[in-house]
Amino acid sequence: MEDKLTSTRHRLHLMVCAGTACVSNRSFEIKEALEREIKKQGLAEEVLVVTTGCNGFCERGPLLVVQPGNIFYQQLTLKDIPHLVEEHFLKGRPVEKLMYKPPEGKKPIPVLNEIDFFKKQVLIALRNRGLIDPEKIEDYIARDGYQALVKALTQMTPEEIIEEIKKSGLRGRGGAGFPTGLKWEFVRLASTSNGGLKFVVCNGDEGDPGAFMDRSILEADPHSVIEGMVIGAKAIGAQQGYVYIRNEYPLALKRLTLALQEAREYGLLGENILGTGFNFDIKVARGAGAFVCGEETALLASIEGRLGEPRPRPPYPAQRGLYGHPTCINNVETWANVPVIVSRGADWFSKIGTKTSKGTKVFSLVGKINNTGLVEVPMGITLREIIFEIGGGIPGGKEFKAVQTGGPSGGCIPKEKLDLPIDYESLTEAGSMMGSGGMVVMDEDTCMVDVAKYFLSFTQDESCGKCTPCREGTKAMLDILDRITKGEGTEEDLQLLEDLAVSIKETALCGLGKTAPNPVLTTLRYFRDEYLTHIRDKKCPAHVCRDLNVYTIDEKTCLEVGHGCDVCRRNCVSEAIIGEKNQPHRIVQEKCIKCGVCYDVCKFGAVKVE
Amino acid sequence: MSQQAFEPKLVGFLCNWCSYTGADLAGTARMTYAPNLRIIRVMCSGRVDPQFVLKAFQEGADGVLISGCHPGDCHYQEGNYKALRRHRLLSKMLEQFGIEKERFRLEWVSAAEGAKFQKVCNEFTEQIRHLGPLSWNGGKKNE
């Protein structure tokens, strides 16, 4: 213990982000280079390099935060390191050129908190991000970790814990937003004639494309989830917990397993936790990556080793869950919120957010946006604030078109609704949903029919096939969308598409099917014109649907500006372009396969697309 | 006395349940068989005391037939086996007395075997007729 705590003696702590995004940008090599350089400069006694979980600003990785001072370095490369070490850590002169510069090209911002991306964030679930080494329980404890557990186990009755959670207004962060305290109460009160067992389960089967909140939490702060689960177990009277985590998250898996090991060694897990006589342990169940296993009943079936498909509810897992016993199943982010509520109190927590939705929500901000990354914002913040202030707006000066929230199950929200304050109800009203927190930003170059088709093809592919509407309906819808993007759609198709979407939403068995039509429904609602253009004019306004594009060469531009450079002809795979060097070129439409290569290679803008 | 004129005198000890009924069946079925056999009914072939056989020969019988149920079918479970054993021993003794063993016969005739009884009866009569009269002077003839 003594040895482990020596880190406090160092003058500087270099927090190297080791989230998946930064790791793939070689942050481990950066870390090694830093250590090498520091040793070389003889600073080993003064400067300590720490690997942390995901910082959130993934767009700018690999990242380094220097503590104290909160100096933020970004997009580091190996050759920057000697200079950085010498200038900053040895000579005390922060290196400006490695700091973050806002898109408008203003002065670099040295301090993390002052960067727009971080400024508006409120960190609860991600409270320890960038501040601790996720592989060291001591770091977590040093940040008041497991304080809430001590409080819950020694000073509170299970009823009091549940009451606190209820009072906090915490709702499930997995998407549906069911009040967590209420769920706990159900499980606590559920009859356990069947052997008296109860379970808590952490749903870490994050499958939405473009979403990585759960992964980041598990990678950056696994103990917060463990602590939340132990508190939950105490509250409902469970003896065994499971974390269901997909096998595609090897880093999260590794860190979680390590964290569980550490927690057991510290007596925070296992038998007689903290000497209170309470027994509880957590097992890790690995998922094979089926999207439907994020649905709670399918997830439980998967843990049991059965076919991962949902079953009708009721009975709810709270009544009959894992192996037939009452089970409390919450999402990673929900569990991570629990310790904070217990230690800081429900009143503090419920001050954040809106009337119906309390606290914060983590979003993964991706798509056509400057600051891609993970953000935790208070409920009630507007989309505009997230996208334009935190996210830094749309790159390339393009026009914002829509934002898709809630993953493939969510909907697309248009420009007009940018000032929508985000909470569970408002998003549902807008035709989308909170979901687990995916947020895909789209600019003017996006075809909304294509977007709907993309998300639908995902859900169609991931449908388990159990119920008719989801299995057959999503395929039927996809077929129609396919026809529309090929210019073969009719207006009757549009009606059928809408009928199908409504019917699937109303009659599908599980959440996957019920929400699968959302992208179609919202795009139909907000971008119906685009569909009609596809159908009536056989045109794709964003030129994304290639089958509808017509490529032509403006002979004047070709000759006068490009001097008939012949690049397009040489690159055309289907030999559809005729013309000689120094002569204007022409596309033979019958031969054109609409691959768009000529458009891409023409430096003079002579190739037009309609 | 010519051979043809010789009518053998035969004594038959028939068990009540099988052979006697078999004989009865032969009768009710109107089967004709040699009238030479004189039947004495006993409840079981196991009741036939060797003395009865000797007595029959002594009294002038030319042949003695013991007939009982087929093995396993005895109304008294195993009386016919006893009869079988006694027949073996007695046959040997009779030979020593000079009486041909053919004259002492054991047959299994069931209640259903009217025809077999007829056949046994006819055969035995012919056989004894062929052997000729038994001139045994161990009996009354000397007195």
Binding site: V292, L307, E309, R311, P312, Q460, E462, S463, C464, G465, K466, C467, T468, P469, R471, E472, G473, T474, K475, A476, D479, S503, E506, T507, A508, L509 | K9, V11, W17, C18, R38, I40, V42, M43, C44, G46, R47, V48, D49, P50, Q51, F52, K55, A56, E59, G60, A61, G72, D73, H75, Y76, Q77, E78, G79, K82, R86, S110, A111, A112, E113
Partner: protein
């Protein structure tokens, strides 16, 4: 009890009732595909959706798994429910156009042709999961499951190979509503008349029609419960709770005063006469098979059909199969003539077929029998006197093509004839029943030459046997028809009752006795007595006979070396006198 409203009807149902069950109670039809009352709701087909109003919130729910709530207002035919139901059925129809139940519901809902892509017009499987759930929940074998997901989902055993877990019970096929799983796929069964199966079809059945008592039993060899320990569906559906799988066969000893043997007969095995082609030609059937075929509860519902499902144009009935034949049984089976006449009459009644009746002699001996024969003669049945020599399917003329040809010597016109027919019924005779000789041995009774049980006396004691207290009734004694059997059974019953009524038993006065004075106590008799009726008296040093046990065989008497043992009425002296008497000319 909960108050609900379905389609405007007010209803009171028990708590825990599903909407579907409540609708059934209200006689409102909700179509379903994946629902089965004996399996847990699966709610996958989404055809049973209805619109409910719960505290002002209107939503679509599946009726098969949604339980009613107080004050629930349910609309099974609302526009919204119908639209969703219709779309779901339309999608299923596109998936499995050959599935009959889907076609039926589609017709009801007015769907003519699905608007969606049909991949396989012959597909029947609608992925309702009844087979998978049956295998899991009922059979407990878990031999099949779903593989792949989404559009590619299908039912399969592990790795698509025949599974060792499969017990071949065919329950999956039984539960399959679309015939996507068929018997032939799974198990080799004798198939007759298209898709109807002859023979035991379920593990619970009445041993025979008209069985007495009319009580079903569980066939342990075919019952799933005895293979996997699961199922017990019968227990679930039996309201009287009359089924107990724990029951074991047990031997019960009952003390009785008398026994009536009525062990019946077995039908002559027609395979024994190869010339008649039974087993080779599917349309050569025995009398009992025809009886089953013509029975209204039989496999064809009483229709007389050939193996190919067509009605026969000519039928031959052959008498005396296995009877009155030196090669098989010499006796007349007595009933065949009359039942053959009955068959001829039934065939005449139900079909247009020509009927040929091949007989040796018509034996219409009973009351009203001869008159029935005459009626048949007038009805046009063709009677041919002569024993059939052969049945063949090798035609000599065009007319005989595809027919069964009966070769027979018509003794009335003195020529050999070939008669082409479609179906031949063999009037098989009667033979003693199964384990007949074992029974004879057990009860120590005799069999007559035809191997039927032998009565004590054909005229004077026709129902008694040589064993006291054991009586005969029915065809175990000799072939006889039903009236005769009933009469004989009545007689046997009265004999048995008379014995019981008397309360005492008369012993034959032929028991053995031992003269105390002569007995030397050698105990030879003790070991010989098969009934243990003789015991040795140690005090008196003599053997003594227990007269109640003595059956009077006289074995002991014959063996007694001292002449102390004597049998009443069969004393040595009496028999000696008899012998002497024989020779007094």
């Amino acid at each position: 009890m909960i108050q609900i409203t379905i389609d405007g009807k007010k209803l009171e149902v028990e708590e825990g009732t599903t909407i579907l069950q409540a609708a059934e109670k209200a006689e409102i039809h909700i179509p379903t595909l994946c629902y089965h009352p004996l399996l847990e709701p699966y709610a996958s087909c989404r055809v049973c959706v209805v619109e409910v109003n719960r505290q002002g919130k209107k939503e679509l729910v599946t009726s098969c798994n949604t339980q009613v709530q107080p004050g629930m207002v349910i609309e099974t035919q609302s526009e919204r429910a119908l639209r969703a139901r219709k779309l779901n059925v339309e999608m299923l129809l596109a998936r499995a156009p050959a599935a009959k139940p889907v076609q039926k519901i589609a017709l009801e809902l007015g769907i003519e042709k699905p608007r969606f892509e049909i991949k396989d017009p012959d597909r029947k499987c609608i992925l309702c999961g009844l087979c998978v759930r049956t295998c899991e929940q009922v059979v407990g074998a878990n031999a099949i499951s779903f593989i792949n997901r989404g559009q590619e989902r299908e039912v399969s055993p592990p790795f698509g190979e025949p599974s060792e877990a499969c017990i071949g019970c065919t329950a999956c096929a039984y539960f399959c509503p679309t015939e996507a799983i068929t018997f032939e796929d799974i198990h080799d069964r004798k198939v007759i008349h298209d898709e109807l199966y002859l023979g035991p079809s379920t593990a619970i059945r009445v041993p025979v029609r008209q069985a007495v008592p009319m009580v079903p039993f569980i066939d342990e060899d075919n019952c799933i419960h005895f293979k996997t320990g699961n199922c017990q569906l019968c227990v679930k559906v039996c309201e009287k709770e009359a089924i107990n799988h724990e029951m074991k066969e047990e031997e019960i000893e009952i003390e009785v005063g008398s026994i009536i043997l009525a062990s019946g007969f077995k039908s002559f095995d027609a395979y024994r006469i190869p010339a008649y082609g039974y087993g080779r030609f599917p349309n050569v059937i025995t009398a009992l098979e025809f009886e089953r075929l013509v029975n209204a509860s039989g496999p064809t519902g009483g229709k007389i059909l050939l193996a190919n499902g067509e009605e026969p144009k000519a039928v031959g009935i052959i008498h005396c199969v296995g009877s009155r034949d030196e090669n098989y049984n010499e006796y007349c089976s007595r009933v065949c003539c009359m039942y053959s006449l009955k068959f001829a009459h039934l065939i005449k009644e139900k079909t247009e077929a020509d009927i040929y009746d091949f007989y040796i002699d018509m034996r219409c001996f009973g009351k009203g029998y001869e008159e029935f024969y005459h009626r048949l003669l007038h009805e046009g049945t063709k009677f041919i006197r002569g024993r059939v020599s052969e049945i063949t399917d090798i035609p000599l003329t065009e007319e005989e093509d595809g027919k069964l040809i009966i070769r027979v010597e018509d003794t009335l016109i003195g020529t050999v004839r070939r008669i082409p027919v479609d179906m031949v019924i063999l009037a098989t005779g009667l033979e003693p029943g199964l384990s007949h000789s074992e029974l004879a041995h057990t009860f120590n009774i005799s069999c007559s030459q035809d191997t039927f049980f032998l009565e004590r006396h054909p005229k004077l004691a026709p129902v008694s046997t040589f064993s006291d207290g054991i009586f005969l009734a029915g065809t175990c004694q000799a072939p006889k028809d039903i009236p005769d059997t009933v009469a004989q059974a009545g007689a046997a019953a009265s004999e048995a009752l008379a014995l019981a009524d008397k309360g005492s038993f008369e012993l034959e006065p032929i028991t053995a006795e031992i003269d105390e004075k002569l007995c030397a106590g050698c105990q030879i008799c003790v070991s010989l007595c098969p009934f243990s009726a003789i015991t040795y008296n140690k005090e008196k040093h003599i053997s003594e006979v227990n007269e109640a046990l003595c059956k009077g065989c006289g074995t002991c008497v014959a063996a007694c070396p001292s002449g102390a043992a004597q049998q009443k009425h069969f004393r040595d002296i009496q028999i000696m006198a008899e012998i002497e008497g024989i020779f007094i000319d």
